[in-house]
Amino acid sequence: MAGLTRITSRLAQMLFVLWAVATILFFIFRLAPGTPLAAYIEPTFTEEQQQALLQRFGLDKPLYVQYGIYLRNLVRGDLGDSFTLNDSVASVIGDVFPYTIALTLISLLVAYLIGVLMGAVLAWKRGTWLEGWSIPLVLTTRAAPEFWLGMLLMALLSFNLGWFPAGGAVSAGAEFSSEWARFFSLDFLKHLFLPALTLAIYLHGLPLLLMRSNMLEVMQEDFVTMARMKGLSSWTIMVRHAARNALLPVATAFALGIGYSIGGNVVIETVFSWPGLGRMLVRAVAANDYPLAQGAFLVIAAVMILMNFVADLLYSSLDPRVSSGHAKH
């Protein structure tokens, strides 16, 4: 039963954080300078139109009334209607969310796969020439600006060699029998390749270096020396013993990485015209589209909080030495 109370208290904590985020978001936008009406300024923009717009956006009511309406709707799962796009916030976010998930998950999976393998290899090959030029190379990919990397790959693989398209999620006017068919089509994968590759190159540095440093630590441990004395092969030691232990922090980094990447891909999305959440968010903030910006931020916060939780769970379940509540690592 201790486990159950732990989970419920965690859930309560998460809800509290979500509420705090929602409240901060609400006030930040309304107290910051700027107004959503700026986008509507036209030579024929009359005072009646301005008033009508304010009414439509609910901005003519006092702040605390607006907040009350906002919370009440939030509890019912209603994120409101976008000011600039005449659609509900939930619908707009729902349209772009799958594309962000697809890009984030694929990129992270590839980045972590490559990162983990290479990290392990580099740890094993410590002191060799391979390590000598790999580490600087990895650091370069991590330091290089994403858009530069993206434009480079676009110029090379799309414009020069013509292997991949340069933008969008599917070809112009392409039709599919269903959303699933769309996401699993070859067309979609071809369009996903370049942005995912760019993101993967950029992201693999973390798991690689993390894995490598963990491996180096683990390789100092007694049980590895023991295994060597037992005469086990390098491969067995590396995979069955060292890597498993070194993977624990990497697993949590992966969970956190998802949370972090979910809203942060705006650069890649702009470079490759990828229809994701990041670009939508930046646009909403710039246009003072309060409901859309709040909704998008809230979704990102929810994912981050969830992934934090998952990371905690993962860690405490993978490592018997750790139990939440007494975490001391």
Binding site: L37, I41, Q50, D95, S158, V170, G173, F272, R283, A286
Partner: protein, 546 residues
Amino acid sequence: MRKLVILIAALALTAAAWAQGDAVRTLTLLTRPQTVAPDEFQAAQLVAQQWRQLGLDVEVRVTPWEQLADLVWFNRADWDMTMWRMVGRAERSDPDELIFNLYHSSTADKGYNFIGYINPEYDALVEAQRTETDPVARQKLIFQAQEILSRDQPEAFLVYPLSTYAFRSDIWDAATVVDQNGIGIKNFWTYTGITPLTEQKDLVLNFPDVVQAINPFYISGAVDSWITELIWDRLLRIGPDGLPQPWAAESFSWVDETTIDVTLRSGMKWHDGLPVTAEDVVFSFRAPAGDEVPMYKPFVTNIDDIEILDENTVRFHLAEPSAAFLTSTLAKVNLVPLHIWGPILDDLANKPDENAEDIQEEVPIGSGPFKFSSWRRTQEVVLEANPDHFAAPKIDRWILRIVPNTEASLGMLRSGEINFLSDYKGDPQVLLQTAESNPIKVVSSADIGFNYIAFNNRRPPFDDVAFRRALSLAIDRDFIAKAAYKGYGVPANSPISVALNYWNDPRVDELGSGLELAKSILEEAGYTVDRGKLHYPEGVVESLGN
């Protein structure tokens, strides 16, 4: 004796101090960031440099568009100068919208005359041109208005930008691409007339921002209007020459100054198969007069009544004669189906917090040359040709791709991912270079819009005509056009673009310029320069100190 000398010296010094007013404070010039509007930013820097040579302390303040618009529009007393621009639209082919709303005193408080220019002489002129239906007499009035603006310089016009677009000349027949005055090749006539040369029958174009709405009652964004123009018909359309011509109306004739008969083309159908009737036309013009269609309301307020004479003819009764009626109303209001929008608007009447702008049809129905096919807001809009239309397009589909990356759009044109570059904000030189070694045709043309520096006429020293004139004449517009706009701008001195050659007054272009000229104007008006700083005329204090 010595006391006398000291007294005289003291008097002389006091006199010297009195002979000049206070030093002019630091003046701020607002501009959008360099990454978003490099030409505007550059122009601001260059102009500020020129003004500093007059003894002014000018600070260029970079502000993102939303904050800038908020400050300029909602805090009219709190800014000095700002860069600003008017964007070209087909309906602005008639000068009325700009020449009235930007400078008439009635819009100074809350409307588009945010510079606060109040001139009764000007007011009278632009009110008169509104109701003057004889084009020659009207031209005279509009020329006079431009001359007053040139004399008063309430804002310093900079350039009419040249917009650059391109298309694949191996895919599209260049002879069928239409360059519309002030709009460029990305216009309605091109889309409906362009003819393919190969099996590629889809026109794929680009735009950097998302489509906000596809709604005939909502002017929601520049690119949205490209789509509404294709899905819905209008009685008249602005032709490639910038003048209104019959479209859904077969013909029209003025019965008298305030009455016009319009004959509808027969055989037109909505995309759902039902016929377009005179009732639909009446509804389309009556609906905006209510409370549910705020953006179109200003364009129909002059209509007193609409009569149906027979099943194909409709008679408009206007409250006042209006020179711009054809362009600003008949060529602007979309024809919408009564059977779809009637019930929607009735329903909205019961919802005070919503209006027609909140409605988004799942499958928008119009009667235009293109039918709605599909729409993914952040990715693309697909329209298919309407073969039953009287001006059926020669292409299969019109596909708009959302491409926020300008450099990528150029590469896509080259690789064929798009085949019509309908938005390009990058370096025109790069585009031209690419066109040299690829089957790409580039077309640049002057926009109906214009870029300018707005002076806040409410705040001194901008309330002094001489000061404004001096600042404006200190600007070397040829230099700005070359340096900031890379040659892709025509020097301007009027809100009416050279693209509208009938209405643009060529005399106002003979604006002298130069620092010496500016300095002499300031001197004549009593300004002095003391130790490099410009001072107000004698007795004037700086009331808005920093």
